[in-house]
């Protein structure tokens, strides 16, 4: 904890346009840049999913203009089988890395973590600026793969070897496309490592006077835990990507075994392990699921508390549960590999932690539900999305019971059941967390309110639409509908096509309703109602500073913290909330010191 009185502002407010808006050192600008990048990425990722869904429902439908994206991938505007897989790979990669990791963690975390801990900025602003621009370069490299050679990689966001490691002999996009994919992700990892370092040091070293660790809001705790995970998970993915690139450009065989034959030719590789990639990838990949969802848990808790007008039943239990999820997430990754050819004893060894991780997840859900009891719930767009998050997290989480068991996984592995499960629990839920955070914090970030009527309309269409898309996926999976097929030609799959058509229509409509959000965002950015400093009557530090916050966050005087972050409905005080910065004594035996 540093002494704010002895601490000068780290960098003066910039004056030039470039230093103010482009190469800015200000964590708030960097947060907004991450948000903008995630917005561009999510629109692109969603358009890709539309194209895929149309193809799955109506394979021969010519999508107007598609040949402009790729004349070879969509001759006559009709998608080729390989182009479907290429779009699928890009959809997954863009969404997981550039949306679900950047928006809830890097965007909101950058903007609000320093403010919530009471700091004037992060300790390494240059690293912070670099982390965004490195991430931006990673995105450019990934998008570039659409326009080179035979297009982007088709190996899926998991990029399993040896398909991804043997080069273009394995199919379109498997040469330069994979090299660009791996380069992009390796660069992305650098950005995340730099960002994580900043988040960790901000939380540990930059807290203002009176801000003990237990007085940090739950959102700050979630970002802190996530950054520790980011530091360890991305540190494994980056070397894995470098090894993959070496298999392409340096003739190594890390992921390719001997005597592989394609087109009647023995490949010039020997001695590698095809399962090694899966181990390295999922050692990153499973924690990544929690990197995507933990910030959402923190944001949703923070938003709900403000709108319930009471703290969670236990601040500490939520923090410890999130910490347990983070630790356990490294011990469960093998559940992605039950039928991979890994030793079947290992499958059981990975099954038990996977089942056990449901205990902290259940505790988190029960604390949310138990805290709703007896609250004075305010319904607004932010709280609706937060409650929607809980519903989605329950629905998506419970299907994990099935997938945690190797014997059932024999039937459900690589089917649409898995697609439904992970979309609900890590994608839709995380996106609901992002929406909740956006409706809650936009006033502070921009100084203007978002339109609540449009916001609620957006919520309803998204909530119902998301269930219409992702619940039927589970049924398809139960009927053994294999994922990652560009067409369903098997006898037993043909009767399932009408369900795919229904899902496609739901996806198009739900996607279209996001235009309401984009309109609301753009319109309110320029013409929204001016926001007060504390429009939601919150208690944490972001609500005790000006809207939008000044360059050094708190003006001339750094805040001093007297209370834990959630003093709502405290007896004996005038208002129903007491700000963290209020010196007014509070008679609350449960208060965190």
């Amino acid at each position: 904890m540093h002494d704010p009185a002895a601490h000068a502002v780290q960098h003066a407010a910039p004056t030039s346009f470039i230093r103010k808006h482009i190469f800015s050192l200000d964590h708030k600008v960097i947060g907004k840049q991450y948000y903008a990048l995630a917005l561009v990425a999510v629109v692109w990722g969603m358009v890709l999913s539309w194209l895929m869904r149309i193809h799955l429902g109506w394979g021969n439908y010519a999508i107007p203009g598609l040949h402009w994206l790729s004349s070879t991938g969509a001759p006559g505007n009709i998608m080729t089988p390989e182009y479907y897989l290429q779009l699928m790979t890009m959809h997954g990669t863009i969404m997981v890395f550039f949306v679900l990791t950047t928006a809830p963690f890097a965007a909101f975390g950058n903007f609000f973590l320093p403010i919530q801990v009471g700091a004037e900025d992060m300790p390494f602003p240059h690293f912070n600026m670099m982390s965004f621009w490195v991430t931006f370069v990673a995105f450019v490299v990934l998008v570039a793969s659409f326009f080179v050679g035979d297009g982007p990689s088709l190996g899926g966001w998991t990029q399993y070897a040896p398909l991804s490691a043997v080069g273009s002999v394995a199919g379109p996009g498997e040469g330069l496309g994979v090299v660009l994919w791996a380069t992009s992700i390796a660069i992305f990892c650098v950005g995340q490592l730099l960002g994580s370092l900043n988040f960790i040091t901000t939380t540990l070293d930059m807290r203002t006077r009176g801000m003990s660790l237990m007085r940090l809001p739950l959102s700050a705790w979630a970002w802190f835990i996530t950054s520790v995970m980011g530091l360890t998970a991305f540190a494994v993915l980056m070397p894995a990507c470098i090894l993959l690139i070496l298999d392409h450009v340096a003739g190594t065989s890390f992921f390719v075994s001997s005597n592989e034959v394609i087109n009647s030719q023995v490949l010039p590789h020997s001695g590698g392990s095809t399962l090694l990639w899966q181990h390295l990838f999922w050692f990153f990949g499973h924690p990544e699921v929690y990197i995507a969802i933990l910030p959402g848990m923190g944001i949703v808790s923070h938003v709900l508390i403000t709108n319930m007008r009471k703290p969670m039943l236990s601040h500490r239990v939520l923090i410890y549960s999130m910490g347990s999820l983070a630790v356990l997430s490294y011990m469960v990754y093998g559940h992605h590999m039950f039928v991979s050819g890994m030793n079947p004893f290992s499958s059981l060894a990975f099954s038990f932690p996977t089942l056990i991780i449901t205990i902290p997840s259940t505790i988190v859900v029960l604390i949310w539900l138990g805290s709703l009891y007896g609250s004075k719930l305010r319904i607004n767009t932010a709280s609706l999305f937060a409650l929607g998050f809980i519903s989605m997290f329950i629905s998506g989480g419970i299907s994990g019971f099935f997938l945690a068991q190797p014997s059932i996984d024999i039937m459900l592995h690589a089917t649409y059941f898995v697609v439904g499960h992970f979309h609900l629990v890590m994608a839709v839920a995380a996106i609901f967390g992002i929406f909740s955070g956006t409706y809650f914090w936009f006033p502070k970030m921009r100084g203007r309110m978002l339109n609540e009527t449009l916001g609620k309309l957006h919520f309803w269409l998204t909530f119902v639409g998301a269930y219409c898309i992702f619940m039927p996926f589970h049924y398809l999976g139960i009927a053994a509908n294999v994922r990652r097929y560009q067409a369903f030609t098997d006898d037993y799959l043909v009767p399932l096509i009408p369900v795919h058509k229904f899902i496609t229509i739901a996806a198009l409509l739900t996607g279209l309703s996001q235009l309401i959000f984009i309109y609301n965002l753009i319109h309110s950015y320029f013409a929204g109602k001016p926001a007060a400093d504390n429009p939601w009557e919150g208690t944490s530090l972001e609500w005790s500073t000006a809207t939008p916050p000044p360059h050094n966050n708190f003006g001339d005087k750094m805040p001093v913290v007297y209370h834990d972050p959630y003093q709502y409905s405290v007896e004996g005080t005038g208002a129903d909330f007491v700000m963290q910065t209020s010196p007014e004594p509070v008679n609350n035996p449960r208060e965190e010191k």
Binding site: A170, E260, S375, I379, S391, S407
Partner: protein
């Protein structure tokens, strides 16, 4: 608004459960001897997951309904038992639930993977490659000849890379594009990948196993019902992945013997 939201959550939860409760959507028919344990495990999990799903969604909806329209001046209250009660409930309820699922599930898994095939199980080799399966039967000598990757030549239909002019054991090997097996006879399936990662999935057989290049694996199963089933690839293997399939015909022993003779004559 809040009450409509609560009702919507309840309707979505019930609507999601109906197709399962009415058995509109269910696992494909089981034709294996090891399948009933898996299906039982699936059914038990469905009950536990279903009850948890409905209970928690209903509770969420109920609390939204009840606590979104409290009168002004009402004091907030805490859940009886507080956080500790919920933590203990999570440990006891979910802990017991997952422990039970884990232990019984391990039994189902062990029945598939920890029991070796019987000594008299019939060996069949399957080779996966972009984008086709090929099958090999050892012929009358009961032995498979060695594979020579450098001799694989698809133009000459030498899919496995057999050297029949030098390898005695290869001479009577029978290579087919479809798989046939006798009913009620244990099969030892030897899995070999020619090129990349693939998978062998027959939903009705309750079998799904990846092929790992450089690591030959085996699985064993017994089919209990005559019929024609589809073998599909579930591991993304390239542009033709969706079309990588073969048929599995489960036949009576007599039909199988005749089929094998016909295939041998075609070699």
């Amino acid at each position: 608004m809040a009450k409509i939201f609560a009702v919507t959550i309840v309707l979505i939860a019930i609507g999601s459960a109906i197709p399962i409760v009415m058995n509109t959507w269910h696992l494909p028919e089981d034709i294996s001897t090891h399948g009933p344990l898996i299906d039982e495990q699936y059914a038990d999990t469905m009950v536990e997951a279903g009850v948890s799903f409905l209970a928690s969604q209903f509770l969420l909806a109920f609390f939204i309904w009840k606590f979104s329209s409290v009168k002004p001046g009402t004091k907030t209250r805490n859940f009886p038992g507080g956080a500790m009660g919920l933590v203990i409930a999570a440990f006891l309820l979910v802990g017991t639930e997952v422990l039970a699922l884990g232990v019984f599930g391990a039994k189902a898994w062990a029945s598939v993977y920890f029991t070796p095939a019987a000594a008299n199980a019939m060996p069949v080799q399957v080779q996966a490659g972009q984008f086709a399966f090929y099958f090999r039967y050892p012929g009358p000598d009961g032995k498979f000849g060695p594979l020579h990757p450098d001799q694989i030549n698809e133009a000459n239909a030498n899919f496995f890379g057999l050297d029949t002019s030098h390898d005695q054991d290869s001479k009577d090997d029978i290579v087919t594009a479809e798989m046939a097996i006798p009913v009620n006879r244990e099969i030892l399936l030897l899995m070999h990948s020619k090129d990349l990662g693939h998978s062998f999935f027959v939903p009705e057989l309750r079998v799904q196993q990846d092929f790992v290049p450089g690591l030959d694996l085996s699985i064993h199963f017994t089919a209990t019902k005559v019929g024609k089933y589809e073998i599909v690839c579930t591991q993304l293997c390239g542009l033709g992945h969706y079309n990588m399939k073969a048929y599995l015909e489960v036949m009576s022993q007599g039909d199988f013997d005749n089929w094998l003779k016909q295939q041998a004559a075609l070699q």
